[in-house]
Structures are given as structure tokens and as C-alpha cells.
Amino acid sequence: ACGSSDSSETTASDDGPASVKVGVIPIVDVAPIYLGKEKGFFSNRNIDLTLETGQGGAAIVPGVLSGQFQFGFSNVTSLMIAQTENVPIKAVVNGVASTGQPGADFGAVVVRADSPIQSAKDLAGKKVAVNTLKNIGDTSIRESVRKDGGDPSGVQFVEIGFPQMPAALDGGQVDAAWVVEPSLSVVKAKGGRVIASNFVDVAPDLTVALYFTSAKLAQEDPDLVKRFVEAMQESLAYADSNPDEVRRIIGTYTQIDAATVAALTLPKWPAEYNRASLEALARLGQQDGLFGSAPELDKLFS
């Protein structure tokens, strides 16, 4: 319906609620926004929220840039890459964070039950599946290896989608895989072993993803952004303190079966992002050559 509509259109209507489209990926991580919408945290603030699901950055970033979406959901490394490439986007509010508990995070490096690999340092020379190369997965796993006393340069990463990882691990096509929920539960259920919690190894309480908007909207309609941030923060807080509600809402927008939902390790949803963890991640990313230049977090958030 919005066609080539401009972001400014949404603000023009002071009388009615601003219609806001948010591009998200239909995974556990975005449960708070679904929950917040249901609880009326957005409509309270005069925001008519629509959630559009895409398969990642290829669809969401251009959508936000062109004003088709007002906000989008993305992992932090991708946002840092965008910043170093001067993509005109701004991070606005926390998305999802690691639990910070080794062995009990929502994402982990796993191996098959019978694998000789016992800990992160054994990954050297092995094939490890990540969902996207040169992104948060390989950077954080390298850190895990490093911290465990191994040689991170020897790890071979291959790109496989999360849903395909259990099969690839089972079939012996990879030696280890970085999986997140719900695939993590699937692997564990088949006897897979967690050998590292890579997010935890990067920083305590690592902020993993953020909601962002276009620089243009941030500049032209700070009020809308502010309302969105407030609504989002309320949603995050609500989600963080109501895991049962979260598990219920996950059942509505995903097709994860009930038993798995009940057993999922939920991530953390603090209302504020963790700046220190982002800096740590930025450093690692730079070390691994993910960025052309050093990411400037201030510019990303200003």
C-alpha cells in the first residue's frame, strides 16, 4: 500500500496513528515485538505496527533504506559492516542479547555425540558451519577457540543455513556447527554436545541484534523514533520477565512444535544494549578483517 511512499508521510498524520512497518526475521529473537504489539505497547503510543517477515539483510536493509519499512531487525555485526560502508542507517534500540551463561545460551557451537572434539581448541583444522561467513558467527567462534588456547586461524568455516545444520552435522558434512534455537534444541535432542558458547566468550551479556532505522527517518521524525524506542523497551522488559508469554507468542508466528517451544533456551531481552560488548565485538571483527575501516559505534547510534 505504501508504494514509493516516503518516510515523512507517516509523520504527516498527527491526528491518526502512524503506520509503522518493521522488517523482522520470523525467529525466536523477535518475540518481544510480537508480544508488544499484542499487549498494545505500540498502539498506546499511537503506532499502528505491521510486522513483515524477510529472510535477512538482503530484503530488510533495502526496505528500510527506501522507506518501505520504518524499522528493521539486524544482527550487530551486519550493522557495523553497514556503518563502515556508510550505509545511511541508525541503530535505535536493543534487539536481543546473549544469556551470558556458558552452556546455557540460545546459540552454541555443537558437535555430534560421538565426535572427538571436546572443546573449542579442538576445532582447529575442522569444518565448522556458520549461517553467514564473515559475520558474527565466525568472529565469535574464533574468539572461543582463542580463549580455549587453540589456533583460530586453522578453523574452516562453511556457510549453511541454521535449519540445515542439524542434518549437515548428522551427515558428517561438518565437524561442528554454530546453531541457534530452535535448531539447537533439535541437535541437543539427538545427543549433540555443546562445546562452546561463543557469544558468552566474546563478552558477558553480548548484544546480538538491534532494531534500526534509516538516517533519514531518524532525522525527519525523531518523535516517531522515540515512541518506537519506548514501546520497544517496554516490550523487551515485558518479554524478559514473562518467559511463558514469550513461549506462547512464539507458537503464533512460528511453526516450532510445542514440545520444542517448551524446552527452548530463551535469549535475554534487556531494554538497553550493552555498549561494552559491542566494542568488544567490533574489535574482534576488525581483527578478523570483516570491516574496511574501524566501525564507529557513535555514528551508528547517534
Partner: protein, 288 residues
């Protein structure tokens, strides 16, 4: 003498008289389409039977490729949901629209390129350059222009299936029999009449193949676009099932896609029977 014999029984058997026009009473075609259906169903049964067996005998794990029976169960669960039917109709809408646009544009462009002198030589390099550009690489572009609108999907669908029709038309037009074309020209048929009565019927078998190719490509792209961009439809349902590790449900949706493909093909084949009844490929089989 034989003569009188034949004259004699000509009276009794009007049916046996040469060339008697009879309504297609005994219609062998109908019988044939019945057996065709039978063979087709048998083929599908074997295929799904193999898919049932593969995981059961342990060639692949049933967790990743569930046996047909489980997929059918999941399908049964899907079809009772209204959202499923909304998704099917969304997908079909973008498919039909996209295919119609691509077919019309492909045919028009193909005929134009072959009929206007030199146009073919001038456009050849550009066509060959544009064709291999994958629709998936155009996704950011589509989203940029149209967001998650239907038009985004349409852009990708049309871009991908247009070439299928175009190339077939170009080859089909080339197939015009020079004697037939000379005949048309010598009887003063103007260009439009020649396109309509000579060029088009000759190219039609190729075009039919092009439409069949494009129909599947359009379906594939409609689903892929929904899958990646998230426009509502079967594809986005597949995406959700995929990220949710709901394996049987995902295969159920994929099977729906495949069955749509089968249905589409049946439709095109029926159309072909009608419009190509004169062609060797169709009439050749009538005699068999």
C-alpha cells in the same frame, strides 16, 4: 466382377463409405486421456512410494526427509487452516499475473524482434547479457522499489519467466517453412496476416514449450520471492516452517508447490491438445 460388388454394398453401409463424416462417437482420444491419467497417477505413486521408503530403510534420516505418510499428515494439518488457503491464493495470484505479463510480453517482443528487419541482430547481445542475471540478485532492487508488495514479487517473476518465452518465440519464428511463407507472400498477405496465419501457428509449438517452462519458473520465482522477501504466500509459510525446524510441515508446503506445478502442466497440456491438434507432435500420436 469386383466393380458391381462394391457398387452393390455401397447402399447398405453408409458408415463404411469413404470419408463419411461421423460425429466422434467411439472417440479413441477420450480413452487415451483416461489411460494417460492412469499412467501419470502410477508414476506419481511410485515417486511418493520411493520417498516413503527412503527414510524408512534408512537411506536418509526421517528427521530431515520425513516419509510421505508424515508429510501427508502435516499436509492434512495445513489444509484445515484458513491461512494456508490465503497463502495459496496469494501465491497463485502473483503466479497468474506474473505469467500472464511475461507470456504476453515475451510473445510480443519475440514476434517484434523477428519481424522488424535487423532488430534481432541489434538486440541479440543485450538479450544474452540480461538473461543470465539471476532474479535473486535483483531482490534488493525489487524491495527498494516496491517493498514487500505484490509488485516486488511480480518484478522478479516477470523478469525470470519473460526470457523463457522470448527465446522460445525466437526459435519458433525461425522455424517458418519458407515455402509456406512464400505462398503467403505471393498471395499478397500483408505482414500482419502473415504473422497471424503463418508465423504464429509455426511458432506455436515452441511457444507452448515456452509457456510450460515459464509457468514453472514463474511459480518457482513467486515462491522464492515470498521465501526471501517475505511477501505473503506459500513461500513465506515455507520460510517460517524452515526456520522453525518444522520439517514435515515444510515438506508438506513444498509438496503443495509441486502439485501446483503438476496441475499447471495438465492445464497447458489440455490447451495444447486443442490448439496444436494439427501439429505432428499431437496428430502423430492419434494414429498410433
Amino acid at each position: 466382377m469386383t466393380m458391381s460388388d462394391s457398387a452393390g454394398d455401397g447402399t447398405t453401409s453408409a458408415v463404411a463409405v469413404p470419408g463419411a463424416l461421423t460425429a466422434s462417437g467411439v472417440s479413441p482420444p477420450r480413452r487415451r486421456s483416461g489411460t494417460t491419467l492412469g499412467y501419470g497417477l502410477a508414476g506419481l505413486a511410485v515417486f511418493f512410494g520411493v520417498l516413503e521408503l527412503l527414510p524408512r530403510v534408512g537411506v536418509v534420516s526421517a528427521d530431515y526427509l520425513p516419509p510421505t505418510s508424515r508429510v501427508v499428515e502435516a499436509l492434512a494439518a495445513e489444509v484445515v487452516e484458513p491461512a494456508f488457503w490465503v497463502a495459496v491464493s496469494d501465491t497463485l495470484t502473483s503466479w497468474i499475473l506474473g505469467l500472464a505479463i511475461a507470456t504476453a510480453a515475451g510473445i510480443a517482443a519475440g514476434v517484434l524482434i523477428s519481424v522488424v528487419p535487423h532488430l534481432r541482430a541489434v538486440t541479440a547481445s543485450t538479450i544474452e547479457f540480461l538473461r543470465p542475471i539471476p532474479s535473486v540478485a535483483l531482490i534488493p532492487l525489487a524491495v527498494l522499489l516496491y517493498g514487500t508488495d505484490l509488485r516486488s514479487t511480480l518484478l522478479l517473476v516477470v523478469y525470470a519467466s519473460f526470457w523463457q518465452v522470448l527465446i522460445q518465440v525466437l526459435y519458433g519464428v525461425q522455424d517458418v517453412d519458407p515455402v509456406a511463407d512464400d505462398t503467403a507472400r505471393s498471395y499478397g498477405l500483408n505482414r500482419w496476416a502473415r504473422i497471424r496465419h503463418v508465423l504464429w501457428p509455426t511458432a506455436l509449438p515452441y511457444v507452448m514449450t515456452g509457456v510450460r517452462l515459464a509457468a514453472a519458473v514463474a511459480l518457482v520465482l513467486a515462491i522464492t520471492a515470498e521465501l526471501i522477501i517475505g511477501t505473503p504466500g506459500l513461500g513465506s509459510r515455507i520460510a517460517v516452517a524452515q526456520t522453525s525446524n518444522a520439517v514435515p510441515a515444510m515438506y508438506a508446503l513444498v509438496a503443495v508447490t509441486g502439485l501446483l506445478g503438476v496441475l499447471i502442466n495438465v492445464g497447458v497440456r489440455l490447451l495444447e491438445r486443442r490448439v496444436l491438434s494439427w501439429h505432428q507432435s499431437v496428430r502423430g500420436e492419434v494414429v498410433l
